[in-house]
């Protein structure tokens, strides 16, 4: 009985510890990044240029299709900018650097899982970028509403719908996070990972719905995308917000995204174990 009590206590303590580390990482990221606000601003401008470009491409394309309207395209891309800020994973950027420079060894000997630190950095980054993006988002919303290009009423959502959207964003972020961590581990085997990193970004932007919105894809393309994990990191939450899914599609989407999350975690764990046996702690 007492043993069980002690076990429960230590479990609670370790949970609190993880939460404390996570919070510290987020705060540290905030204070670190707030020194380089100009960099974040430049990234935001670059993001806006990219998305506005894609928006124009698909707005022009929507003239020739009867099922997709200009309003849908504009709403989709404005929401894409917001959701991508929340589901982005930056592990590939710094995780690869940590392995190549040897800093990864320091993370391994710490008394907590290094993923906690990475998670903190990513959550900090996403919150920071979302806060900086909000003024631009509100301006875009105002302009689009004035020109009657906005598609849905934000106030029309029920609490359950809001919770489901939030859940899809969290799942999307976690899928991204575990894929990112798995790809970053490749740096243990291959030292010139730049090509692989860019290749991953290409695949991601192509299959997540950033490059081609889900609605524009032909039926075969849509069926392929549904069964791949990338859709659930970006396109699926947007489709939920726009309300373009039936209840069955929604249920199927959630089941599949959760399944993909579990698969990503398992793949990461297996790959992590294999990678550690090959890790030579070079670069120190």
């Amino acid at each position: 009985m007492q043993k069980e009590k002690i076990k429960k206590k230590t479990k609670r303590k370790s949970k609190n510890k993880v939460w404390r580390i996570l919070r510290k990482e987020i705060v540290m990221f905030f204070s670190g990044e707030s020194l380089y606000r100009k960099q974040i601003l430049a990234w935001l401008i670059a993001d806006i240029i990219k998305v506005v470009g894609l928006c124009f491409v698909w707005m022009s394309a929507s003239k020739y299709t009867s099922d997709i309207t200009r309003n849908y395209v504009v709403t989709y891309y404005i929401l894409l900018m917001l959701i991508s800020k929340l589901t982005t994973d930056r592990t590939i950027e710094f995780g690869i650097g940590n392995i190549l420079s040897g800093r990864f060894s320091n993370l391994l000997i710490k008394p907590f899982n290094y993923l906690t630190e990475y998670l903190g950095i990513n959550i900090g980054n996403n919150i920071f970028r979302t806060i900086l993006f909000l003024p631009a988002f509100l301006v875009a919303l105002f302009l689009v509403k004035k020109t009657n290009l906005w598609m849905f009423n934000i106030a029309g959502f029920s609490i359950v719908e809001i919770l489901l959207i939030a859940l899809s964003i969290v799942i999307g972020f976690l899928i991204n996070f575990f894929i990112g961590n798995t790809v970053a581990l490749i740096a243990i085997f291959v030292k010139e990972v730049d090509g692989i990193r860019v290749f991953y970004y290409n695949i991601f932007s192509m299959l997540s719905g950033e490059f081609i919105p889900f609605a524009f894809l032909p039926t075969i393309g849509q069926q392929v995308m549904i069964f791949l994990p990338f859709r659930y990191t970006l396109s699926f939450p947007i489709e939920l917000i726009i309300n373009s899914l039936s209840i069955q599609e929604m249920q199927f989407g959630f089941v599949l995204s959760l399944l993909w999350l579990a698969v990503c975690i398992v793949i990461y764990k297996i790959f992590y174990k294999i990678s550690l046996t090959h890790y030579e702690a070079e670069g120190l």
Binding site: Y36, I49, G53, M59, T65, E192, G195, N202, I203, L217
Partner: protein
Amino acid sequence: MKQKVYKKKSLYKRIRHYLRIWRRIVKSGLKRSFFNKKVFVARLFRTAFVIGAQLLLLDVIFSGSGDYVGWTKPQTYLVLGIWNVVNYSCWSLFGINFNLLQDKVLSGSFDYTLLKPVSSWCLASFGDFFIHNLVNVLSGFVLIGYYIYMEWGSISIFNCIFLIFAILISIVICYFIFLFFASFIIAEPRTGTISISKELVGVTKYPIDIFGSSLSFVFYTFVPIGFITTVPANLLIGRTSYVYLLYGLFVTVLLGIISIGMWNRNLKKYCSMNS
């Protein structure tokens, strides 16, 4: 008179000197790439994927109609082909060097660039050569070749010559856009301005006409990205007069003066760190 002859000789010698340096850089870049064969194979896969993605995008765009803002499918292949040639040539020649500039400034190794007896903007941008990106240029030639094959009867030799000149001009325009934004890194690292130039060049993957007349005007004047793909494509198609080529040349010179001026201005603000 004598002085004039001396000046001419000096310029010729300088160009030869720079070309000799660049030849050495290319040689060392090539040696390094042969060393990393795995990366080379990965790049080939990436090239195949990128072309597949680009073609799928065009296929989806053209699924509703045979015309897209006044461009036919082979014509958009041509635009995409020119973009692949220009964009990946830029990454091979100077893009990655500009990307690495921030690390050089932060680590203090940019000081060595300044110490060398060559122009700082030249060495900072052409200091290394990356053959891997040049592989992707081949995809561009394939797409341009496809357009020429499809429209063989309507293309004159002059159009082809104009296209070559226009592509050269667009590479120089891209270079000055990159140089302009990269110069801010010297004055203040971690400003992330290079990402803006990347996205500006990225937008030219599609014909500029999609942006409507008012934005198109901006892209042919203040932000001259219209000259990167749309003008060369129009010159080959025969929709634009060669006067646009001269106008492009004028814009390039103007952009060059602005970019080099900005580089020199920001260089004055550079403070050496970490060295």
